[in-house]
């Protein structure tokens, strides 16, 4: 790399000073003015981003939603796509109950149990009939939706919040399905069951917290 020779400074006149282009660039970057990002997200963008961030803000929710995708991938077709179709619908129904003030008993317990049960099903590679799988996933989805419904922030664009919320939930399922595709390899099947044990352990932790 060719060095750039700068003119000697007054204090070091007579001595040669060297600065590499990389250091010069770094100094210039440091001197570049920064744009002030001092504005809050507006109602529209704020609503969408708030909706997107809500499902991923709680590890108990994340575990259960990823587990739905994992279990679907483990069960194969048609569960691989039927479960992620059923979950948002039932979750939204739970959200509807939460928003309208309909009480649901032991919501936190239900959320924690969802991770325990789904984790156990993945760990045991248990193949239930599709109707039973849908029933389990749909049942627990109502608890997740209810919790989100009662926690939704007012004062934002309701529709953009809802869009962001449903997209984030769907993407968590997609993440679970993508991870669950390791099912096609022998080592992947073992790893998938291992992931089930992680989900179950997480669920047990949240169950303990809910009961404590």
């Amino acid at each position: 790399m060719t060095d750039i020779r700068l003119p000697p400074s007054r204090s070091t006149r007579g001595n040669q000073r060297w600065i590499s282009p990389r250091n010069l660039l770094a100094v210039l970057v440091l001197l570049a003015p920064m744009t002030a990002l001092a504005h809050l997200e507006g109602a529209a963008a704020g609503g969408f981003l708030s909706g997107m961030s809500h499902p991923v803000s709680g590890l108990d929710h994340v575990l259960a939603m990823v587990a739905v995708g994992l279990w679907g991938a483990q069960l194969g077709a048609p569960a691989i796509w039927l479960l992620p179709v059923a979950f948002p619908l039932m979750m939204a129904f739970g959200g509807l109950l939460g928003l309208t003030g309909v009480e649901l008993p032991a919501v936190e317990l239900g959320i924690a149990l969802s991770a325990v049960i789904l984790g156990a099903l993945i760990l045991g590679a248990i193949r239930l009939p599709i109707a039973a799988a849908l029933l389990i996933v749909g049942f627990f989805a109502v608890f997740h939706g209810h919790a989100h419904g009662t926690e939704m922030t007012a004062g934002q664009s309701a529709i953009l919040y809802s869009i962001g919320f449903v997209i984030a939930t769907g993407l968590l399922h997609a993440l679970g399905i993508a991870i669950g595709l390791i099912e096609r390899w022998q080592v992947g099947r073992v790893a998938l069951r291992g992931a089930g044990s992680v989900v179950m352990a997480g669920g047990l932790f949240f169950l303990w917290s809910a009961l404590a």
């Binding site: 939204a92 928003l99 809802s162």
Partner: protein
Amino acid sequence: MMRAAVRLLPLALLAGVPGSAQAHLVNSGLGPFYNGMLHLLLSPGDLLAVLAVGLLAGQSGKASARWVTIALPLAWGGVALAGLALGTAAGPGSVQVALLILLGVLVAAGVQLSPSVMASLGALTGLVHGLENAGAFVASDSGLVAVAGAAAAVLVLTLLIAALAVSLRAAWTRIALRVGGSWIAAIGMLMLGWLLQGTS
């Protein structure tokens, strides 16, 4: 369950009351026609409805898609013009949301509707949303041209979405379409919750 139903009844009745539309046209800087187009493109509720109708029409086959492409923009523009002429605009939000849920569930269930039923459903969607849109057009100086812009946007979007849905052949793409339907229905259900809560 009965107690919950009784508790929800007044809320449901409140949600059924049509509210006056208070939206205003966004100034695109390109004239009233594009203001009308932009109004539609910046209304997530309207876009979702067009998306749902387009997906269902495409899923139902070419004939249904063709009829919807005519019925939806015509109804949308026609009722917006009527609202403009009468100076009234009211959008029954609960009907919009109920339609969105219905359309989403039909897409998720993989239902294929006959052209006449599909066209009727498209026209109903156009009537409900066009009536609400009329509020923005009433406030505009060039409402007539703006309505034409909005109806043109509905036509183009419906055409593109339905054509895309018709062309889907691979199994996974049909599944993705049905997953999309479930998302639309879920958004509709959450919207219903917001509506009943009174924060929509």
